[in-house]
């Protein structure tokens, strides 16, 4: 009775959610009803619903609470009520990860999954798999195999999907179900076929050849299920990307043929795959684009949406192809579906001419407040692309952005606006002052700590170099008064930058920093004291090293080195030089991070949480080899160099590890002959003049298809110019013929053999670590006083453009470009490239390369370094 009244009252409140006021403790109390001898199915179902509701609202149950409910729930198996039983399955799934001893229901669920009641079977399978761990899987394996090939599609699908989930914990058991999955792929049911393909793919995905075979077979048999075909398109596209072959392969043919499939879903999938392939010619692209173009005019909003979204995504990579759809896109600007309209406009912005910018921006402004954050982000991205393309439009765009910044919106949206403003500022000096002003205004009222911190950092970096630095101080100091400790600390650091770079502001900054030393937060006080003391010294070198340029070392390495230091218990002070520098992500790595998940039913999850440098990875492995332990800290590891053609008998790759005085060559070898066992595998080197081989560590055994590693340790020549050179290399080993099936050698006797490798080049870049100088100018000026300087002029006849020259110089020297000078502004005939790095042994290098385009390229190269020999080496190496 009472509950009825409450419901009614809630309805008046406009709530209407019958579960609004339920409470965990009460519900757990009610769950004791499950223990009654006679089950009241209706009541129990209701209680279970409440429990599920609570769990889905994020309510946490402790292990004891969960176990108690779980065991009470197991007693409901005595009821024959179908609805209640299905609720029990859901309850089992929800509690399986929290409660203890959940395997208690294994037999009961197995009975239901193999029983006569069809309504139970699929759900019981899903519940069973949620409680099964790797040790128990064997016990239910037989039933799972049967279920996969069951006549009932729901049962088969449930078993397949559950198998997919279980590959995470017991992939080798699931692999044994490949025959059943194979059979299920032939199913008439579209879902079963789709899920079966998912399982087959996941079983094989680590084996390229097997995937290729699978795709080849399935593309020929023409799958019935459009879902399965979509997935096959995705797998094929992925293979195509990995294969280095051109697009004349049967895989591409297959994807192309799907453009003529009868299902729209498949047609779209194929078009999407083709336009997203990295290497496509315009001829290959054309049919896919026409499909998307057709979809733009479809009466179905989903198709219009999919098409315009895809065009939007590829507009930057294939501008001309997308321009072909301009007319269709224009029609979509006024689409009643705002998402479609937004995407259409932003696509046009990306591809359109400068003259159309104003018109399109006005059109967006009419409805920007009505669209969701996600689409606002799309708009912002389009604006960013525009600003980079049409620098002269910056004031229109900047105004638009600042208006957006003032609107309501979540962190991601605001961050993307701030990002865009920052990009525009960095790219376009004219936009700097207005951009900074907008950002200053924004942090006055910014609720996102992370964003405020980033903007303060930027103000500290850019503000001191504007015409009137003092105007930013007020905005920054306001943060110290009004914000939380994290933002306050960032504001203190930003102020210190002004102190270091603007002598006439120094006195004021010191006053402000003195006030900050009274702050209630430790970090804020520490920073203020730190900066205040350094600024007191009035020493440019100190400013550069401890205020303007942040620490360059890799933080995970620092942690490891400090831990080792504490363990060794020495008297010596800790040497920060022993810590490897932080890896700067290469362009390629940045691109990989931007790639999205491939939609293959199971995502591989978030990739690599902490970026660890290559050196850090190798360091760990190398430090386990006793002979390498005396070499000191690893300074730099090169990229992998292949010393054999691929698909030869033996595959050898080399990684060059540079230490302060030594070079360690790591040869990773694979033996691809299944009738040979190699022993005592080593690389015989013919090093260039001055190099001394100090140690060789052979690989004792190299069985078929396993990777083995041999090392050679060399001492660098005393004369620096000799460190750059070419080494001859031969792989030497003892061969023992063996039985391909067992891998066991036929006899104990082996014979010596050798295999020629390609020459190994040791280059300048192997000995240089890239360093990111935030304030290159200051460092250069400073270096003018106490570094050695060398200068020379060269003519780079083989290079035709400034871009090409810049790219080659960066790569050759292995230095890090600073102040975005790696980007050559369009239409210029001269360019100055600024570089920084560290030579092994800790010698700093700064390089300024002035380039001029006239009949080839002439370059004036100025090197400043702490070491004469290093400076000389660089100037001579270029020549």
């Amino acid at each position: 009775m009472s509950s009825f009244k409450r419901d009614k009252k809630e309805e008046e409140d406009g709530g209407g959610n019958p579960f609004q006021n339920i409470e965990k403790t009460t519900v757990l109390q009610e769950a004791r009803l499950f223990n009654e001898n006679i089950i009241n199915a209706k009541k129990c179902t209701h209680i279970l619903t409440k429990i599920l509701y609570l769990l889905n609202q994020g309510e946490q149950l402790g292990a004891t609470e969960a176990t108690e409910v779980f065991f009470a729930m197991t007693k409901l198996f005595q009821s024959k009520d179908v609805i209640l039983r299905r609720m029990v399955y859901l309850g089992i799934k929800e509690l399986s990860s929290i409660a203890d001893d959940v395997i208690i229901v294994t037999s009961s669920l197995t009975k239901d999954m193999t029983g006569k009641e069809d309504l139970y079977r699929a759900a019981a399978i899903r519940a069973l798999c949620s409680i099964t761990d790797a040790t128990m899987l064997q016990a239910i394996e037989r039933y799972m195999k049967q279920a996969i090939v069951d006549k009932n599609p729901a049962v088969s699908s449930a078993a397949l999907v559950s198998s997919l989930h279980m590959t995470k914990m017991a992939s080798d058991v699931i692999k044994r179900w490949v025959n059943e999955a194979q059979e299920a792929v032939n199913s008439e049911n579209i879902m079963v076929q789709f899920h079966a393909l998912g399982v087959l793919y996941h079983i094989r995905k680590s084996d390229r050849l097997a995937v290729t075979k699978l795709v080849a077979r399935l593309t020929r048999m023409s799958l019935k299920s459009p879902y399965a075909v979509c997935m096959l398109v995705r797998i094929a596209a992925k293979l195509l990307e990995e294969e280095e072959t051109g697009n004349d392969s049967p895989l591409f043919e297959f994807i192309e043929s799907c453009l003529r499939h009868k299902s729209e879903m498949v047609i779209y999938e194929a078009a999407h795959a083709i336009v997203n392939l990295r290497r496509t010619t315009s001829r290959e692209l054309a049919p896919a684009i026409s499909v998307l173009q057709l979809f733009c005019g479809s009466p179905k909003p989903t198709l219009r949406f999919a098409a315009v979204r895809t065009l939007n995504q590829v507009a930057i990579n294939h501008p001309t192809a997308v321009t072909a759809c301009n007319l269709d896109l224009e029609n979509l600007i006024t689409d009643s579906n705002r998402s479609i309209a937004t995407l259409a406009i932003t696509t046009l912005l990306k591809t359109g001419a400068e003259s159309s910018v104003d018109r399109l921006m006005k059109q967006i402004a009419t409805f920007v407040s009505e669209i969701s954050d996600e689409f606002k982000v799309v708009v912002v991205q389009a604006i960013r692309a525009l600003a980079l393309k049409f620098p002269r439009k910056h004031s229109v765009l900047m105004n638009f952005l600042s208006a957006m910044l003032r609107d309501e919106g979540g962190l991601e949206y605001k961050a993307s606006i701030a990002d865009t403003i920052i990009t525009i500022i960095e790219d376009n000096a004219e936009a700097k002052e207005t951009g900074l002003a907008h950002l200053c205004e924004f942090i006055e009222d910014c609720e996102h700590t992370s964003l405020a911190v980033r903007i303060l950092h930027l103000l500290g970096k850019e503000g001191p170099r504007t015409k009137q630095p003092s105007r930013y101080i007020r905005f920054i100091y306001n943060r110290v008064i009004l914000e939380n400790p994290t933002v306050r600390a960032a504001a203190v650091s930003a102020m210190a930058q002004f102190g270091a770079l603007c002598p006439d502001l120094l006195e004021n900054i010191q006053v402000l920093l003195a006030r900050c030393q009274m702050d209630s937060d430790d970090e804020v006080r520490d920073r203020a004291a730190y900066y205040s003391n350094i600024l007191k010294q009035q020493d440019k070198t100190l400013y550069n090293n401890y205020i303007l340029d942040p620490l360059q070392i890799s933080i995970p390495s620092l942690e490891r080195c400090l831990r080792e230091y504490i363990l060794t218990n020495t008297e010596e002070p800790f040497d920060i030089k022993s810590v490897p520098l932080a890896a700067l992500p290469t362009e390629e790595e940045k691109q990989i991070n931007n790639q999205k998940s491939d939609g293959m039913l199971i995502t591989t999850g978030p990739v690599k949480p902490i970026p660890v440098s290559r050196e850090e990875n190798y360091s760990e492995k190398l430090s386990t080899i006793p002979a390498l332990q005396q070499l000191g800290p690893l300074f730099k590891s090169s990229d992998i160099v292949e010393l054999t053609e691929s698909e030869t008998e033996y595959v050898v790759c080399c990684i060059k590890h540079c230490y302060t005085r030594h070079l360690v060559l790591q040869f990773d070898c694979v033996n691809t002959l299944n009738d040979q066992l190699l022993e005592n595998v080593r690389v015989q080197l013919d090093p260039s003049e001055g190099y001394k081989i100090v140690n060789e560590i052979p690989c004792p055994k190299l069985p078929y298809n396993e990777m083995g590693t041999a090392y050679v340790v060399l001492q660098f020549p005393e004369d620096l110019p000799n460190t750059v050179g070419t080494f001859g290399a031969v792989l030497k080993f003892v061969v023992k013929d063996c039985d391909p099936n067992t891998g066991l050698p036929d006899t104990d006797e082996g014979y010596d053999d050798e295999y020629m490798l390609e020459d190994l080049e040791v280059v300048l870049g192997d000995q240089i670590q890239r360093v990111n100088k935030v304030n290159w100018g200051a460092a250069w000026e400073e270096a003018g006083n106490n570094f050695v300087e060398m200068e020379d002029t060269y003519s780079l006849s083989s290079m035709g453009t400034l871009e090409e020259a810049v790219k080659n110089i960066i790569q050759f020297l292995g230095l890090q470009p600073a102040e975005r000078t790696d980007k050559v502004p369009e239409g210029k005939t001269t360019h100055t490239l600024l570089l920084a790095g560290l030579f092994r042994g800790g010698f700093e290098i700064l390089v300024r390369s002035k380039l001029a385009l006239a009949d080839g390229i002439t370059m004036q190269l100025t090197v400043r370094s702490t070491d004469t020999d290093v400076a000389e080496l660089i100037t001579s190496a270029v020549g």
Binding site: N37, T74, K75, I103, V105, S107, K111, A139
Partner: protein, 189 residues
């Protein structure tokens, strides 16, 4: 207990539904015994070791039984206790040909009898000395002595030799249990 339930109780409606717990070491024949009592069409052809438990229903002399057929495997024995509280009777199955593990049986039985949810209740326990057809099977007298059954004073108990494959001895045992449960239910109030 609500008023309605009390009423139902006196009218004898409730009396017809009883819960029993079937325990004993693994491989003793619990599932086979329960299978024997089930209706012809519900019987399973092949019995596999139980993982966790199974709920089975069967009728005997107007009483409907809900049997919790527990797994006797070591890993699951600790979990029996979750089901002690609400049962009206216990069927404890012993493989009478497994002399070696009779001590283990005794340990488990002692744990059961000492358990707080069992020790103060006058709950009937039916022992089956199962697999009596095996040639080195112990007699029920010997099993009773080995387990010290005569020391159980506060609970009615009974031991039957049985063969779950043919059904010999099963009916007799369950009739005893039915009788006992009827009595306890009537006298409990």
């Amino acid at each position: 207990m609500g008023l309605f339930q009390k009423l139902a109780f006196f009218l004898g409606i409730r009396r017809k539904e009883v819960n029993v717990l079937v325990i004993g070491l693994n491989n003793s024949g619990k599932s086979t015994i329960i299978n024997h009592f089930k209706d012809e069409e519900e019987k399973v052809a092949e019995i596999v070791p139980t993982v966790g438990f199974n709920v089975e229903k069967f009728q005997n002399q107007n009483l409907s039984f809900t049997a919790f057929d527990m797994s006797g495997h070591g890993r699951y024995r600790d979990l029996w206790e979750h089901y002690y509280k609400d049962c009206h009777g216990i069927i404890f199955v012993i493989d009478s040909s497994d002399r070696l593990r009779l001590v283990v049986v005794k340990d488990e039985l002692d744990l059961l009898l000492q358990h707080p949810d069992i020790c103060n209740r006058k709950i009937p326990i039916l022992f089956f000395g199962n697999k009596m057809d095996c040639k080195d099977a112990l007699s029920s007298v010997k099993i009773a002595a080995g387990l010290g059954l005569d020391k159980i004073m506060d609970k009615p108990w009974h031991i039957s030799a049985s063969n779950a494959l043919t059904g010999d001895g099963l009916q007799e045992g369950v009739e005893w249990l039915t009788q006992q449960i009827r009595e306890t239910i009537v006298t409990r109030n």
